[in-house]
Amino acid sequence: MERYQVKLESFEGPLDLLLHLVQQAEVDLYDIPVAEITAQYMTYIHAMQQLELDVASEYLVMASSLLAIKSKMLLPTPELANEDEEWEEWEEEDPREELAMQLDLYRKYKEAANFLQEQSEHREKRYSKSPTDLEQYKDYAEVQEVDEDVDATVTDLIQAFQKMKQRVRMRSPKHTTVEQERHSIEERMTVITNVLADHHAPVSFQQAFAIGEIDRQVTTFIALLQLVKDGDVSCEQEGNFEDIWIQAKGMSVHA
């Protein structure tokens, strides 16, 4: 039984397994030695069964077709002629033909699948920039109209999502925590006190400091809290989420 040993490989189904056996035997797809291939096929099925794996029903269906073909081949063909001409006249359909065509067709798509695989690997080496945010070019009033029809499908939605996932990232999302160090709290404290020194009226946090990258805003806010704690500035806020008004308390030179 050793010579029937199946190469350790994953198969995509009975046709894939069969194709593998035929190619391994190096025989013509349209002239398969059915008895031999069937035996090898059955060995594989038995191996799967011994492993107590669920043998997919498709494998069993193929097994029975193979056995059927094998027995048809064993039936004596009446008047099997030696001459080609006569053979053609008498020819009944080769019991293997349908299977051979099926295998041939499957083989072609398997090759096409390989082609696609290679193409995608090549495509993955190409990158493009993210689209520029064009919203800034739009008239906001136009965008506001709710009633207009939206022409998009679920496929558009999925395609957009998948495209986004394959984009190269200039800054990874987690990056912000690292970059935070670029704006030290001390530095931001100095900036705040300098700005306040230039103004005699309270300064709006929103307008003066809530600009730039989010990590900078956070650092600025922490710096502000530190200044409040130190008693260098005073803050007023009318309610949750309202703007914060900041004012220097007496002399506060951090330079």
Partner: protein, 193 residues
């Protein structure tokens, strides 16, 4: 206007990045014949090749996109964070090949060729935006028909479906396929009325 048109098109190509620009949309925006826009894009595409510009102008379906050249991939990957690649299983790739060559196809068409259930492979392909449903087949059961999407061309670097290499199917099957297509087409036309 020639030089001007080139400039406008290159500007819009840059702005739209990986979304690319669609010939029809450009024609509408610029109030030009689609033909003229197409010709200019094709001319530009060749110019980028001939002059060996750093970037390449690629066509995927009706969309043109500027991309970097493969030889620079490693520098980009060192500079920025490349995306996580999700590879398609062999089952999905084989099913995709069948959809691509024989579209529109039903699930059972795919199953017949591969000899195994294609349920899962097809839903993976739909979820990757490579295949979409496109109406239903005529006859009993009115099975869902599947076709490839625009994204399919992009992911597999194909200008069009005609750029798929020939796999020389039997004539008989081609005829059969054509019949199926025509009958579906008629059916669709019928539905519209």
């Amino acid at each position: 206007m020639h030089e001007e048109l080139t400039g406008i098109i290159e500007t819009l190509l840059y702005v739209s990045g990986d979304e690319g620009i669609d010939v029809a949309r450009i024609a509408t925006v610029l109030e030009l014949e689609e033909d003229k826009v197409s010709r200019e894009l094709e001319r530009l595409k060749e110019e980028y090749e001939e002059k060996g510009y750093t970037l390449q102008l690629m066509k995927f379906g009706s969309v043109y996109t500027l991309t970097t050249r493969p030889k620079y991939a490693s520098y980009i990957e060192r500079y920025a964070k490349p995306p996580e690649r999700s590879t398609l299983s062999q089952a999905a790739l084989e099913s995709l090949a069948i959809v691509a060559y024989r579209q529109p196809v039903t699930r059972s068409d795919v199953e017949e060729i591969r000899g195994v259930n294609a349920d899962r492979a097809l839903s993976t392909l739909v979820s990757k935006g490579l295949v979409e449903e496109s109406g239903r087949a005529k006859g009993v059961g009115r099975a869902i028909l599947y076709v490839t999407t625009e994204r399919f061309l992009d992911v597999f670097e194909l200008e069009s479906l005609q750029h798929l290499p020939s796999i020389e199917e039997d004539k008989e099957q081609e005829v059969e396929q054509m019949d199926l297509f025509l009958s579906n087409y008629k059916d669709l036309q019928g539905d519209d009325e």
